[in-house]
Subunit: 306 residues, 2 copies
């Protein structure tokens, strides 16, 4: 049987020209560009909680990196490097090869080099840390939303949660299994958006984090929200407002930036919907229905909730 | 019950003056000093594999960070920042508070700020990524050992493995549960050592990594190795040569640096033993007994071995 070291070499070790030193020593060595800040984010995915037992390893490799790249996108950072910590029940070479394929394909598409990691035996658990760069002071913080700003959302909401509810719907399942991190959007929103977050725990909860960090409220028109299509409008509403895993960006921008935002969406061929506005006062999110009445919004995802 | 976000705030969120932005946004923002390289390392610890079920959470918090700081030490880097990904079977506040106490106490001692992370429910699994700094080009690579160099080891070997074999021995158990990362030694070895590694998988295997990366062989005198004391010399030998988890540094340095190495050890009040020398040829490690004959050395730890 090949050793841990041999498996890492075979499946995960690729040239890392943008690192001083990649996989294979005690630590990777990186040389950030002058004048840049680093954005660092970590996520952990656990079998049975974030993905089904027996999930396709190639899709899993994609998703494990995608959720991290999405965090960088929400900060407006350009992905550069990643490390991977992986606990596996057994040294299953087929699984590892497919997982690495999914991960490295996405990494290559976004110019991200896998520079280090750790593998061990244990219940299937994946933790990735990504490092991105951005010009100093230009990070898209959650705390920058101001009264009068517009609220925007990219793409469509609810698809991933619908995919979880109805695995037979291929388009929805693809949203769940192969999310597309909005990296280019995040980069272009530097200097344009006032605050941003990625929709990982549900739109209402994630926008709520912006409101809390900024000390502002928001009114959102449910009709304006971009929705993954579904005939069951009750299920759809739940998934659009409180479903997780979409990895779209929710962001705010001054009204003066409406044309700039529209131009970014057109340039990226990515729909960007203006869905509401920021107001003064408590960090409260009011989602209004077509009749102007406030909709009841479920609480989003808490990783320790029952 | 407090939410995931509240628990993180309460137990893990501390001021991070050396970061532009710490815990609480999509990513941490870091501003490396000009002219410095970053060293990045990741480890994953799984219950039942790297520590016993029911292990003291405070000691675990210490160890989870210590093993990562040890990787930075082996690279000669100065620790700066860390992220934590944590899967826990339940939101046990007592456990989390103790774990955070152990981790943050060590972090503070080594000037390391916890700037981000992720918590989720799952089988107990801890993954930490550390980021350190060092002057560009001064990293202590595994690949720098040259024929004629001396082989050195810090502290004592075998204590952690003896602690695993005989948990009743308090001094050995402390080596296992509360390893001390040799950070100051690593920093001082910049410009002095030619190669370095930390002893995590066993001295023979870890020195073997240096030999392989450098394309050299080594002869080590077993008598010269600094040993955790134990009456059972057979057990002791196994633990000294092949036991893991000591987190001492094994390093090589030119003979011309003997005085410099001795001065570093004296300055740190840390015993540094000269245990052998690097030779030409295959990456082969010969450990010689008192009679000059070669000892049989067990293979070290492979995280996927049965």
């Amino acid at each position: 049987l090949p050793s841990e070291f041999e498996l890492i070499r075979r499946y995960f070790q690729r040239p890392t020209p943008s690192a001083v030193l990649g996989i294979g020593d005690d630590a990777a060595l990186l040389r950030p560009a002058a004048g840049m800040e680093l954005a660092v984010s970590t996520d952990m995915l656990v079998e049975g909680r974030h993905f089904r037992a027996g999930a396709d390893p190639e899709a899993l490799g994609h998703k494990a990196l995608a959720v991290n790249l999405s965090d960088l996108a929400a900060m407006g950072a350009t992905p550069r490097w990643a490390t991977l910590a992986l606990a596996l029940p057994a040294a299953n070479e087929h699984w590892m090869a497919a997982f690495a394929r999914g991960l490295l394909a996405l990494a290559q598409r976004f110019g991200t080099e896998l520079v280090g990691g750790d593998t061990t035996r244990g219940p299937l658990c994946i933790s990735i840390t990504v490092v991105g760069e951005l010009p100093a002071g230009q990070g898209l913080l959650r705390s920058g939303a101001r009264p009068g700003d517009d609220v925007w959302v990219s793409g469509e909401l609810g698809g991933a949660a619908i995919g979880l509810a109805e695995p037979g719907l291929a388009a929805a399942a693809a949203r769940l299994d192969r999310p597309e991190p909005r990296v280019a959007l995040g980069e272009k929103l530097r200097g344009v958006a006032s605050a941003a977050i990625d929709v990982s725990d549900g739109f209402a909860q994630d926008l709520g984090h912006i409101l809390e960090a900024s000390g502002v409220g928001a009114i959102v028109r449910y009709e304006s929200l971009p929705k993954f299509p579904h005939a069951d409008t009750k299920l759809q509403r739940r998934c659009v407002l409180s479903g997780g895993d979409d990895y779209e960006l929710a962001f705010t921008a001054p009204q003066a930036k409406r044309d700039a935002v529209a131009a970014i969406g057109a340039g990226l061929k990515l729909p960007l919907a203006r869905v509401g506005s920021i107001g003064k006062g408590n960090p409260d999110l009011a989602v209004l229905g077509a009749n102007g009445k406030r909709l009841k919004v479920e609480r989003g995802f808490d990783h320790f909730a029952a």
